[in-house]
């Protein structure tokens, strides 16, 4: 067994026990990247030198006993929409093709303090807009289970890197399912925390009211541990929530006796692939065997989440992405005639099709005469959806369902029909609209050999419920390494 096969926590233990040095761990990851990148393209930037230097520094602190964190010396990959000081941060866009931030995102600072070693920045859908990682300016990432398939998105690079064992764990961001869906497609585990749990400072915004950073790793233990590290109250983020206890690892117990788990019938209807359905039902049965109380119920309003989401996310994005204009950073067109022409050319050349599509839609729904009909309507719908979840969580500790209607589609099959692609987010989007935490864990492999993911949703601030359920389920099966690992 090689070092890259280990979970982050297993590797971290070996480093603490001096069985392995941080440098060896990092070197193993870099070697893995070297041998696989050509096939899967999960990184935009690999910082070999930086990783080796910080591995050496971290090792010294481990040797002196100053650094005892479970992730000290463990190599991590960061989605390329989080600012890293002195390291290229592109959002997989041409418009930020040369952007080197002067500061580091708060979540990454927390990781660095714990001694995790940053390998580089992972590929994503441009500005996190997409569900396949095909909208990246730097080429698509391939699924490590089958390189003719997409890894999902938008955190496809992070999920593929974990599945291909190019890193021990990764950070992703989730605005409408961008951690949970690619985790499902790549057969790895990821958590989207309650809104406000991880600071957004330094995360390049897509939909500010929906964005959350979260961990992606091989198992629930890794994810809970990393979440415990990156979660913090940050006075630089006004939407950051002061939470009493961030001891997520305390929920890593194999015990779901009496836990009430609801299965929304709305999540198992038309459009759901039968193999996915079966695998998810089987997962529910496993939990039932362990003493959980499983019950089907009607969540309602599921069909309204996608339109509401696209209005809100695109509206916020149209404003958040206005700052990319060729003036302060990033791409500026070479030839232009006056200010507005410079803006238009820089942005039109700098942004890809999907980003432009969403900016256009977002600008339109906010424009004079349409605001009430679209934006306010979406905010009201959001209130109704939140209400539906409140009612559900009055009855259930956890909501269980699929993370995505299908397994990973083939490359090149999704972008031509954007609406169809958007519909693929149907099970993940409501959690962002309602601020809920969600976790995806692998629960099977379909007949094509592609992973299937199980999604567990909890009420706001109840990560421990979903961590406990996910951990209990995880104990019923072996972790399946991808063919590329």
């Amino acid at each position: 067994m090689s070092l890259t096969n280990l979970t982050a926590i297993e590797l971290g233990k070996k480093i603490q026990n001096k069985e392995v040095s941080a440098l060896e761990a990092v070197q193993a990851a870099l070697d893995s990247i070297d041998s696989k990148e050509e096939k899967i393209n999960s990184f935009v930037t690999v910082d070999k030198e930086g990783a080796i230097n910080s591995a050496k520094k971290v090792q010294k602190l481990i040797d002196t006993g100053e650094l005892k964190s479970p992730v000290a010396g463990v190599p991590v990959a960061i989605k390329d929409n989080m600012c890293t000081k002195d390291m290229l941060t592109t959002c997989s866009s041409r418009i930020l093709g040369n952007f080197i931030p002067m500061y580091t995102a708060e979540a990454i600072i927390n990781l660095e303090k714990a001694g995790a070693v940053i390998l580089g920045k992972t590929n994503m859908d441009e500005f996190a807009m997409g569900s396949t990682t095909e909208t990246s300016y730097y080429g698509p990432t391939k699924n490590p289970w089958n390189i003719n398939h997409v890894p999902g998105g938008s955190s496809g690079g992070s999920c593929a890197a974990v599945a291909a064992e190019e890193c021990s764990f990764a950070l992703g961001s989730d605005t409408g399912g961008s951690i949970r869906q690619p985790c499902s497609f790549c057969g790895v585990t990821g958590i989207k925390p309650t809104y406000g749990t991880v600071s957004r400072y330094g995360l390049i915004a897509y939909g500010s009211s929906l964005d959350q950073i979260g961990p992606i790793a091989k198992d629930v233990t890794d994810c809970a541990t990393v979440l415990e590290i990156i979660a913090s109250y940050d006075h630089k983020d006004s939407t950051s929530v002061k939470r009493d206890k961030l001891d997520f690892t305390s929920a890593l117990v194999d015990d779901v006796k009496g836990m009430k788990i609801g299965l929304p019938r709305d999540y198992f209807g038309e459009g759901l692939d039968s193999e996915v359905k079966e695998a998810v039902f089987n997962a529910a049965k496993e939990l039932e065997k362990k003493g959980a109380v499983i019950e089907e119920f009607d969540l309602s309003l599921v069909d309204y989440a996608i339109p509401a989401y696209y209005i809100i996310a695109c509206a916020e994005a149209s404003s958040n992405l206005a700052r990319f204009d060729g003036v302060k950073y990033g791409y500026r067109t070479s030839e232009y005639n006056g200010l507005h022409n410079m803006y238009k050319k820089s942005r039109s050349e700098g942004f890809g099709t999907e980003v432009k599509r969403r900016i256009m839609l977002g600008s339109f729904v906010l424009s004079s005469g349409y605001y009430d009909a679209y934006y306010i309507k979406a905010l009201k719908t959001k209130a109704l959806i939140k209400g539906a979840f409140d009612r559900a969580f009055a009855k259930y500790d956890v909501i269980l369902g699929p993370a995505a209607p299908t397994t990973a589609p083939e490359l090149g099959k999704s972008l031509s029909d954007p609406l169809k692609m958007y519909l693929g987010d149907i099970y993940t989007i409501s959690a962002n609209l309602s601020g809920l935490p969600g976790i995806t864990v692998p629960c099977g492999i379909d007949s094509k050999g592609l992973p299937i993911g199980l999604q567990l949703l909890g009420d706001c601030f109840k990560e421990k419920n979903i961590i406990r359920a996910a951990y209990a389920f995880e104990q019923t099966r072996e972790y399946k390494h991808s063919p590329l690992s």
Binding site: M82, C83, T89, C91, L96, F99, P101, M102, Y103, A105, R200, Y201, G202, L203, I204, A205, G207, S208, S209, H235, K236, D237, S238, T239, A315, E316, S318, S319, A322, R323, F324, D325, V327, K328, Y329, L339, H340, Y343, S363, L366, S367, S368, Y371, Y375
Partner: protein, 476 residues
Amino acid sequence: MKQYETVIGLEVHVELATKTKIFCSCSTEFGGEPNSHTCPVCTGMPGSLPVLNKKVVEYAAAVGLATNCKITKNCKFDRKNYFYPDNPQNYQISQLYYPICRNGGIEIETEDGSKKTIGIHEIHMEEDAGKLIHDEWGDNSLVDFNRSGVPLIEIVSEPDMRSADEVISYLDKLRLIIQYLGASDCKLQEGSMRADVNLSVREVGSQEFGTRTEMKNLNSFKAIARAIEAEKERQIDIIESGGKVVQETRRWDDNKEYSYAMRSKEDAQDYRYFPEPDLVPVIISDEWLEEIKAAQPEFRDEKLERYKQEYKIPEYDAQIITGDKHLADLFEATTAICNNPKKVSNWLMVETMRLMKEHGIEPAGLKFSPENLAKLIDLAESKQINSQIAKEVFEKIFNEDIDPEKYVEENGLKTVSDDGALREVVKKVIEANPQPVEDYHNGKKKAMGFLVGQIMKEMQGKADPALANKLLKELL
């Protein structure tokens, strides 16, 4: 020709006197190298987030209370989206749907001396933009973000004003209130107070409003008055010649005394406001509002009364001194030291005003300390220097804030009241001026004045004039 009436509403932007910007901990201090007062937040760096400065809310609420507004208990920020290079995020964080203050008004005095209330529609908090420097010859503008994110309140009046005089009177009243609160220094020239004028005309007696235009770039009261006159004329001309006024934003060029439309195909003026997701609502509790109320200073009208009662200074002087917060502060601080309000008032009303006029300085630009003025008053009152010398010393204080005691000592300016020395000079002057002496004896009183003048000249102004007079009479 028909009779027209001008209908004017004002949007007044005031830079608040906070130490830091509205959403980041950068200094708001004027000057500094370009882009030195900046950080990721106020330059729109990707991933940066705003955090609201509490003091901004307190100042805005205080201005709202002082202008009789209702304070919104649950106020929120919105994004105003438009592209411009001085606006680093290409959106401005402002308030549209739930501004902090609403439905207020202040009383002004009109030309004929009657009182009139100008309604305040709302006051909202927002961030200022950066500065654009235009390269006169080249094709470029330069951007400096030092002012980007400086807190502003925008005070939006109702269209209640009917003349330039009313506008000036309203602005003056606002300026005083805000200065007294310490919420801003309100300097029009430096841009810490700026007014956009919304103006329309209609036939006298009409109840309907005409189409209004918005005039920007008005940097002084004079420019405002001129722009109002010109815009009124322009609109009347259009209507008289059968045309229609277009609703638009116009930029005033005070040198050319002309305005031009800022219309452009690229300015859709569709700001796509929506609630700012990066900031949470501000809830102003009754307790907090009480605290803000309790911290309010004495306002102008109260101060005016007190000056007349407590200090017994004339109405006119009290009007002038309380008419500017800086002047009033200076008056009170000096009086507290020398306990001679009448003299302090005199120095401010006469010499200070004269020199301010001469140097083109506003009260906010006064540099001298109350301590030095108080010392000067003591020197003059105890007759250690005479009034002429005192004026000269004051000019030094005004310009350089020198210590008058030291200065008088070092330059030997103390009044000579030594009988012997003065007696010698008087004798000398009598001997040197036989003609005026004869004139004096012939009953020409004027000659006396001339001789005293000569004595003062010999003494380089340091003689005690009363003593000189006495000795002269005696020796003649």
